[in-house]
Amino acid sequence: MLRIEGIQKSFGGFMAVNGANLGVQKGEIVAVIGPNGAGKTTLFNLITGIIKPDGGRVIFKEEEITGLPAYRICKKGMSRSFQVVNIFSRLTVFENVQIAVLSRHGKTFNLFTPSRKLLIEETSDILQSVGLTDKGRSVSGSLSHGDQKALEIAIALGGHPELLILDEPTAGLSPEETIRCIDLIKRLSADLGLTILFCEHDMELVFAIANRIMVMVRGKSIIQGLPADVRCNREVQDAYLGESESGVCLA
């Protein structure tokens, strides 16, 4: 479904992503892991068009989307959440999600129909699926961090994506919230049949839900494979544990 070939991006001489490769099959849950500063978020930004790559190709559903603006990539069925909470903070929770839904239905140039009459059900459904139904009228900026992370995912779902990209969905969450989040991701995959690409620091989470794992180190993808293969790969161990302790399987 998604194929990335040798993608590159440098910021003022610093190679943030230096030839990363990645493939995601339909229905899979793929995790990207790597140490801090490995270029995971940059990679996601490159895929979703938030920033433009210097080189390489992004192919989505057999179509090259390299360098397309973010809003067009989104229209093709790829949505994402952000690592740092990135919501419409002055709007209510309901409105946050509704914008994404309106956008997917191409109704944002509709000037005279009141928003409140449009796509109520679909928006409510999404809120329900992430457990935010009773907070719909709250101003999103005033929510707790956990709820804001849930809202992050809800907004991404508003685009009704085939491929959902989650950038550290559990960052900053409490253990209970993390468990809820894992359940949510699993449910999304199972119930809606979503393809999910995510990156994460929490190894437990990664090995608990990912079908396949890609490892990034210093902007390069060094391996992509089944959890079991990745777990004992030497290079991965080097990257994570330092060479002295190699030979121990991760997690």
Binding site: A70, I87, F88, L91, R104, K107, F109, R116
Partner: protein
């Protein structure tokens, strides 16, 4: 979010307010009728700016250009080309919208302060052209004595025309703010990156918003012609733009009617302060400073917040 909701229990107040405004000329002296009309004009200009500023988060620093272009478009169509005023009234806003489209297309690739700076440079060019094109625009003398149809020629007539047009524009703007487009625009204001990520073409939405705002500013310019029968190059000068910005801020730039309230405060202040002191800009400056320091969300924004705090707003909740 601090928008106003017409669906609440208080919706009956709107027609009452409107009827009050309709009968005011019958009880008020001509001066206050004129002053109210002037407030509507300034208020409409401020509200059109707030469409892009408060709702779109776009730093449109030189909004007065479109106000002035609307006024000049109408005045020149009537005086120089000799068409009927009604045609002039259409030409003004359309011309303003067109200028807004051109300037917007150039500026929209930039954001925030850079947008504002480029826009102010371009706007100054438009001002310079109007200011020195003597043979056509009348240069710094401006255009005077634009004749109006008898129906709206008197103070009362121009008041009613201004009231009705302003009301129509307010309804249209309200609908736009509440429409999916309005939602998207507010989304862009809060978070342009996220908007882009959910599939909203940010620049295009901003451009459309700018054109709409330019159009309504043009309408305000036309209404100025109706009320005062004149157009001046000062209407396109950057200081007026800042005054319009101040109106938004004073009233509350995150509320729908705030800019109208801000305009009422500015016009009333100017009119009454200037009757007892020549230092009325000093008073204006001090009030502005105090509002910025103590009421950063403007007067209406502050009032709204207070009412919310008091819990009196349970019924006025929003969907």
């Amino acid at each position: 979010m601090a928008t106003l909701n017409i669906r609440g229990k208080e919706s009956w107040l709107v027609p009452i307010l409107f009827i009050l405004l309709l009968v005011f000329p019958l009880v008020l002296t001509r001066f206050y009728t004129y002053l109210l009309a002037l407030i509507f004009v300034s208020g409409l200009a401020a509200m059109s700016l707030n469409l892009v500023l408060g709702y779109g988060g776009i730093y449109q620093f030189h909004h007065a250009v479109f106000y002035g272009v609307g006024a000049y478009g109408a005045a020149l169509t009537i005086t120089k080309l000799g068409y009927s005023p009604w045609i002039g009234f259409l030409v003004g806003p359309l011309l303003a919208a067109f200028i807004s489209l051109v300037m917007g297309a150039i500026c929209v690739r930039l954001s925030k302060l850079y947008f504002g700076m480029l826009q102010i440079s371009l706007g100054s060019l438009v001002w310079a052209i109007v200011y020195r094109w003597y043979s056509f625009t009348g240069g710094d003398d401006g255009i005077h004595g634009v004749s109006m149809p008898d129906l709206i020629g008197s103070t009362t007539g121009s008041y009613y025309f201004t009231l009705l047009v302003t009301a129509a524009c307010l309804i249209a703007m309200y609908l736009i703010v509440k429409s999916p487009f309005g939602s998207a625009l507010q989304g862009i204001r809060d978070n342009p990156v996220r908007s882009e990520a959910v599939g909203v073409n940010v620049k295009l939405h901003q451009l459309v918003a700018l054109v709409i705002a330019g159009f309504f500013a043009g309408v305000a310019g036309v209404l100025f012609i109706v009320v005062d029968n004149s157009a001046f190059p000062d209407m396109l000068f950057w200081t007026l733009s800042l005054e319009i910005l101040i109106m938004c801020l004073l009233g509350g730039w995150l509320t729908f009617l705030g800019p109208m309230l801000g305009a009422a405060m500015m016009v009333a202040l100017r009119t009454f302060a200037s009757t007892f002191t020549e230092y009325w800009t000093l008073i204006q400056g001090i009030i502005l400073m105090l509002v910025i320091i103590f009421l950063p969300e403007g007067v209406l924004g502050y009032v709204n917040a207070k009412f919310k705090q008091l819990g009196n707003l349970a019924s006025g909740g929003k969907a």
